[in-house]
Amino acid sequence: MMGGKSSNRQLYMSAAVDGLNYQQCVQLAEMAERALLHALIAPESSRLEKPAPSSPVLEPFTLLAALSASTSTIGLIAEVHSAFYEPFHAARKLAALDYMSSGRAGCLTLPGQEAAAANFGRVSKEQLRPHGYEASAAVEFAEAMQQLWDSWDDDALIYDKQAGMQFDEAKVREVNYTGRYYSTRGPLNIARPPQGHPPIVVPIRTQDDKLAAARVADVMIIEPNSLEEAIELSLELRELLRQQGRQPEQGRILASLTPIAVTAGSISEVDLRLGTVGGGGKTARGRLCCAGTAEEIADWIQLWHHSGAVDGFHIQPPLQAALDSFGYFAEQVIPELQRRGMFRQTGSSSTSLREQLGLSRPINQFHVIR
């Protein structure tokens, strides 16, 4: 076992929750919450995969809103495909989810699958992603949402029954956001969310993603092939953050990971089919996997975490056995990490996802201007 010299560095953990069976989603969410994970991420798909290897998934906002009633501390991050969505709709749903969950909402933005364009009347590639869309759309989408959230001051609502005044008019404003791809006037029809801005998560897949993330992401999810690649990628991302005048801790870096349990002497059929037995590496499906006993998986996580490359992991259970696989991770691997002092043993006193991720609450940008 390796030493625990950097155990004071917080390890952040999220997990994917999806599927068609709501009861199984609840079970996974409850397991994740018991294991003190920081957040759940509900992936979105805007098309059907062909040939359909995966089950269809419940829509993220409806799924997470329902889960907000079954959980009390874990973050709830919805995947939104910006090429097919309006910032006003997304900002409002995230604000509503943030109120309903007492500050646990977050948003993962992706442009959306090219093959889904035909479901939204974008018949050509050019219509889906006009030249330059990828480079700036994620930034625009996030900026438009953040301005809408800031269209209300935190203390705008007064509800003065005597005077008959709902809020202070000087504290609610149009934002008139006009970008290349999106424009919205505002104000939003819901007050500023408990977190100010629900955190923005950007998966890093292309060079454009890196530039966009450096400007707007609170959390970045990387998909490296090896530890060396992860270290290199993180150095680059942190440098890009600095160039935007942001601190490294303002952009948490999580590596996407599929842990595969190999209990002593028994290798499940699933593991064999995935071809991942015996150490970490990428599978044919392009996911970073780590196979082993709970101790071996913990060793592997420890190695990565101590390298400084990542702030944590986004756990993506294998499709074929999500509940069983995640159950093993939550009930065997997490306690092992806790024994080593690497993972928190008590929940945060705050339910705010931002606070749990060690992110500060953003001040209202319209105050800075004034």
């Binding site: 269809p56 998934v57 419940l58 906002f61 097919f84 509503a96 109120y99 029954k161 006037r185 029809n189």
Partner: protein, 450 residues
């Protein structure tokens, strides 16, 4: 005695602190509740204890200019109803989405997802949006014209239904041995190409418990009625008198035959706002207290907005300047409500202040104050005389206005055999006595043919 009586349907219209515009100033109301999920869970549970068919959330995508006087609906229907689905088990959950500012694929997907999560309790109130306060949140173009919006709505619903029908009932095989999840022959592209939408499909969710969510509509203009008679399964409407209610009821049901539909396939639910007291005098006093809390300044704004004319310079105790007002055909949104207000003011010869007070309780929907017996009498009259299949219940203030109705009026209706004493089904369609739609099999192209 109560044998064979037609039972009514009751939908709870959930609206922030209540339907009276001054409800938020009522000592018992909690304006902060509008962003608190526990507040809505409490109201939903009261409605479910009263065996109501459904609850409903209206919606819009912008703040109106009158916002400082009025508590806005805060939480958003899809997220709120999904959470309420978990906190309740029987009551139907009707959400509003605009066909003008949404993509049909997103809406079809969200309602399908809600129907799965709630095990068959989703309803879709179809609206076409009003006003530029919404329009400019989605780009620089103003609100499209009334007829264009309805044309888009018709095409939108054709796409949505196609998507809901894009999976055959038994498409999921889930054969773990063979590794076959769905039978690709049972998934169908819709390949819709129309003036407003190009949508390929299939939907990325299997057919939901109800097949389609229950389709609800509330536009009462001529175009709106035509749309409802073709498409809707429940209609929310504002009718100021029993007579108006009867003619609306007959009109909408009369239009259905040409679409091959029978009158029972639409439930007509006029808005109904009861102010309940143990005595008539107590009910009157409650209404007076609420009206005292209204703000004329807001009322003038509200009227100006609806009548499309700035009324701020006119004396509150004088008549409406009828000669200067826009005529109904010049109005682009809320046409039927515009007509209703003008007729009400003329019929009863109301001053501006009186019109504001008459519409403060429920914005032109039928409202009355009375004892539980008086209220049940009036409801029975509307049902028996063919003005309604049930009501869109609009308590003047929450939660007590709803509690009083459930505790005092519901038992009276049940004693008369006018309302169920327990749920008989589990889905919203079963509550309303609506059939589960057959899958339309006109879609030909299958996904495997790509």
């Amino acid at each position: 005695m109560s044998y064979g009586k037609k039972k009514m349907h009751l939908n709870l219209f959930l609206r922030n602190t209540g339907h009276h515009e001054a409800s938020w100033r009522h000592p018992g109301s909690d304006p902060n509740g509008v962003t608190d999920i526990d507040y809505y869970i409490k109201l939903a549970k009261i409605a479910e204890a009263g065996k109501l068919d459904s609850l409903f959330l209206a919606d819009s995508y912008g703040l109106p200019p009158t916002m400082q006087f009025l508590v806005q609906q805060a939480l958003e229907p899809f997220t709120l109803l999904s959470a309420l689905a978990i906190a309740t088990s029987r009551i139907g959950l009707i959400g509003t989405a605009s066909t003008t500012y949404y993509e049909p694929f997103h809406v079809a997907r969200k309602f399908n997802s809600l129907d799965h999560i709630s095990r068959g309790r989703a309803g879709f109130n179809i609206v076409t949006s009003t006003g530029n306060a919404t329009a400019f949140n989605f780009g620089a173009a103003p609100l499209p014209e009334h007829t264009d919006r309805y044309e888009r709505a018709g095409e939108f619903m054709e796409v949505a239904k196609g998507l809901w029908d894009s999976w055959e009932e038994d498409a999921i095989v889930a054969d773990k041995e063979q590794g076959l999840y769905v039978d690709p022959e049972k998934l169908h592209e819709i390949n819709h190409v129309g003036r407003h939408f190009h949508v390929k499909g299939p939907l990325n969710l299997p057919r939901s418990p109800q097949g389609h969510p229950v389709l609800v509509q509330a536009g009462a203009s001529d175009t709106g009625r035509e749309f409802a008679s073709r498409m809707a399964e429940a209609v929310f409407t504002a009718q100021n008198t029993l007579e108006d209610g009867r003619s609306f009821y007959a009109d909408v049901k009369g239009r259905m035959a040409k679409y091959g539909r029978s009158p029972a396939q639409i439930k007509i639910l006029p808005g109904f706002c009861p102010v309940i007291g143990d005595t008539s005098a107590e009910a009157k006093e409650k209404e007076r207290e609420l009206n005292e809390l209204t703000q004329p300044e807001y009322g003038v704004y509200r009227l100006s907005n609806l009548l499309k004319m700035d009324l701020r310079g006119y004396p509150l105790d004088g008549p409406l300047p009828f000669a200067e007002l826009a005529e109904n055909h010049e109005i682009n949104s809320q046409k039927a409500r515009h007509q209703l207000y003008l007729e009400l003011a003329q019929r009863e010869n109301l001053t501006i202040r009186q019109l504001i007070l008459r519409t403060a309780t429920s914005r032109g929907h039928y409202s009355m104050s009375g004892t539980p017996i008086e209220i049940a009498d009036e409801m029975e009259r509307w049902i028996v005389q063919g003005a309604a299949d049930g009501f869109n219940l609009m308590p003047p203030y929450f939660p007590s206005g709803l509690e009083e109705f459930v505790d005092k009026v519901i038992p009276e209706l049940q004693n008369r055999g006018l309302f169920r004493t327990d749920y008989e089904g589990t889905t919203l369609r079963e509550h309303y006595g609506l059939e589960r739609p057959e899958r339309s099999s006109s879609r030909q192209s299958v996904i495997s043919a790509q």
